[in-house]
Symmetry: D2
Subunit: 290 residues, 4 copies
């Protein structure tokens, strides 16, 4: 069992850290939110007074932070100064690959082994320990992290060198956002044409157009139920990462570029805290419907 | 068993008419291509000298034609004049809903019962009688056509009033085209970032981004194998139908509008006879890759 | 002076035909609308009882019709049967190039000389005889038509073979639609950022971004005054022509494809009878503004 | 006359600093490039050994740096620590508004008066002192800076509070990029249709589609001459700023989102050092032309 420092005990980090405690690890955590610290204590972990304290003496450090500025501040600014050579740093935040590469480089200078390991599966996945975890970094470090990551997720895959986890996460999010937009356009076309949308989507779900979003969400989308789930605001952040990732390696992604603006429109129209399937509202507003 | 007139004995119509013969129907067919007529004869059907002759005395007429001008010419120009009141006309061509509505209206004036019944599933689906068939028209006419359609396909669904079959087919094609573009953008991003595309797509296929195209085509796309399958040229035609369908009912489909141009680009760049998964070539050319 | 048959005496055709009368031509006109015929009579022309009558004995026939189906019906269906060999047929309707080519081809079979000559400049241009006229067809026929066209417009240009007039008109409309969308996005960005939009656009109008729309429309756009001018509904029709023209010659126009959907959105949201500068409303609605 | 510290003596900063020397100011400059320093000395300015030295004792500091990370490092990291209260800091770099706001805020804490003042007009404008300068910040500070800015540019406009200069520059760049794309699509459509592109664009330049890019660049674009001018690579950077500016204030810009990807495609295809009018190559490659 390992001594783990865990920074970022929010909606995702809280159940994740609890799973690690339950698996027998000694987990010391930090978060700016007092309630989050209390939850960790209640689960059997130890609350630290600062990020620096949380990682003091840790064999493994896990960070689960909102966005790249937080990672820059906490990891580059504090954590790397506070850990011993040989420590394994697993950054599970979803951020732009560029920052993951900077962290890995900075870690390498100090003998800290770094992995980027963003997840998909959301709050439910975190609670049920069924996350998909996409890991970028050295093979050996992945092997070392594997037992810990298996405690948190169901699908744990090493996808390539540093930053690769973020790139795969970005690819996932652009595809999910795009499929939502396509389902939305299909629904609007069907309804406006006087076709029973449910019957129509049932046919689509049985052919080459079949996809998980159609399976899971077509009924709630037709019913205009948009309880999150994964919020538009978060998907908006992720589309920014996808475009930054594309820019970083000089590729052009025209469909992603458009989808990013449609999701931005969702946020701008006040749907940011709805489920990302609410992209339907953006598309139907464009047609002055329903 | 019925006396069926079948017009359009091409790649799709040929195996479809043979299934009808095998099921015990008396099929009289017409096509401008002599070989197509010979095949029908060999299968046990009767070759007619003209479209008019083919439908003479038929209880059911099936048309399977390339595009709306052919339907206008053959159906509006000839067939409707040659059949008796009460005949059931099933147009299985993929055309714009507008034309299907015009055919239905013209049929109604003469007491001919009309269904639009486009299919998906391609040549393989036609040969194996596993097509998906999307049917628009009157409930009673659908019930009457059902036994015949069941001979040709596996999923046979009544989706709404006249033209609805075409609308559902259009929705299917816009979604399929869009998902191909998204998979293509994901592959280009992954490869350019030095990530193993196969490993990356495997992760995506296990999460919310999962879709049938990813399941069936990711290996051939990564290997750049684009044997059709369903050709870019045909998908280009179908995107034109999707946009015409949207225009008909005054809805705006921004993603579809862009995808239509990317598929047009595939055709313009000379990939028209490749499989529609060759949309990957359009996307990677945009990035000067591979 | 010529004997001119003029078909289509609407908002554009009415002042145009009056200019021809005033220039000394003998103009016989036809329109389905009685008031339109009365106006022509009042202006000194002759009202015909049918399109056929209007073109009987004409040396020059001018058609100014709403869209390609009308041209197909009136020109292909009636006019070409009613005129003598050697007649000059000038179709000034804005339609898809494909139809102009079909008319030219059909005319050639009967010895009728055909030009496509769509205009820009709108109602004002028609009234003031300051239209821009883009002409496709044979050089000699253009020379023959020139005196008549000079009576109607200020800029009269022969741009290429049959259909070229329509293509140039289509290029004009895609550019105008696109610039409106760009001005709209600039305004939304400036206003949302707390920048004085007028001051900002003034700077833009002084640099490389300068354009006539910015000159003529920025004040009314900022004031949200959208009296037509040229209606969204008509621009929607024209974007359909632009995309049809692109499809006809197998080119891909991604920006045009997107602009077409934004303009479709304007119509779908109920702004069809506003000026096309009301594209600003589509763009600002996307951002939940103002 | 003022004591001016000038940091960033590149293609733009070099002629600009020379103009200030010529106008009688005492200019002390810094750049990492030795040749740039030598040029300033030759022009009558003083070369400093560091950014810190350059701003020591300056009444006015001008920075002209490539992108926001440089501004963050040089201005936030060094300059603000090295200048006295009351100093006027004019940042003429083109960067995201967000960074300009951060600089202004940090300046305010230390009593330093800050303006963002990006320019357009390129190398030629810098050499001829005919730049357009868009200024954000306090009215009084603008008044103080005005005499200096008038030495550098022809159009000097105060457009709003801090960051506004950047927003207007971003609006300018999105419009310029978009108009290039539209001109490119028009050319491709005209040429593919067999229309004389020059004749066609001449007509467009005489109507509502008229714009400065058409005036200045249509001949070189038709001739495929793409000597910069303003490079695709720089426009690519600026489109990133435009999208960041939109994101900052939560607006959705669909056309800008697409144009950004087309320009990214230009860079990805290896046209980065060509003039931005080379967007034509991206558009024509999409159509497999010429």
């Amino acid at each position: 069992m390992s001594r783990i420092g865990f920074i970022g005990l929010g909606i995702m980090g809280s159940p994740m850290s609890a799973h690690l405690v339950a698996a027998g690890h000694r987990v010391t955590g930090f978060d700016l939110n007092e309630d989050a610290l209390a939850k960790l204590t209640a689960a059997g972990g130890t609350a630290a007074a600062s990020a620096r304290d949380a990682v003091e003496g840790a064999e493994v450090v896990i960070t689960m932070l909102p966005d790249h500025p937080h990672v820059e501040e906490v990891v580059l600014g504090t954590v790397l100064d506070g850990v011993a050579r040989g420590t394994l740093l697993i950054d599970m935040s979803t951020i732009r690959p560029e920052t993951s590469l900077a962290v890995a480089e900075e870690g390498a200078k100090r003998g800290v082994r770094v992995l980027d390991a963003p997840v998909s599966g959301g709050e439910t996945g975190a609670k049920q320990a069924t996350l998909s975890i996409m890991v970028g970094g050295e093979e050996g470090d992945f092997a070392a992290a594997r037992p810990i990551l298996d405690t948190l997720g169901k699908t744990v895959v090493h996808v390539g060198p540093h930053g690769s986890g973020q790139v795969v996460k970005a690819a996932n999010q652009l595809m999910v956002g795009g499929i939502y937009a396509l389902v939305a356009e299909a629904i609007v076309l069907l309804e406006a044409s006087g076709v029973d949308a449910k019957a129509g989507l049932d046919v689509l779900a049985g052919g080459l157009a079949a996809n998980r979003i159609l399976d899971l969400k077509r009924d709630t989308m037709i019913a205009r139920e948009f309880r999150p789930g994964f919020r538009i605001d978060l998907h908006h952040k992720d589309m920014g990462i996808a475009l930054a990732a594309a820019r970083q390696v000089d590729v052009a992604l025209p469909v992603t570029g458009l989808i990013a603006q449609l999701i931005a429109s969702g946020r701008a129209q006040g749907y940011g805290s709805l489920d990302h399937s609410a992209l339907l509202k953006v598309v139907e507003n464009l047609s002055g419907r329903p």
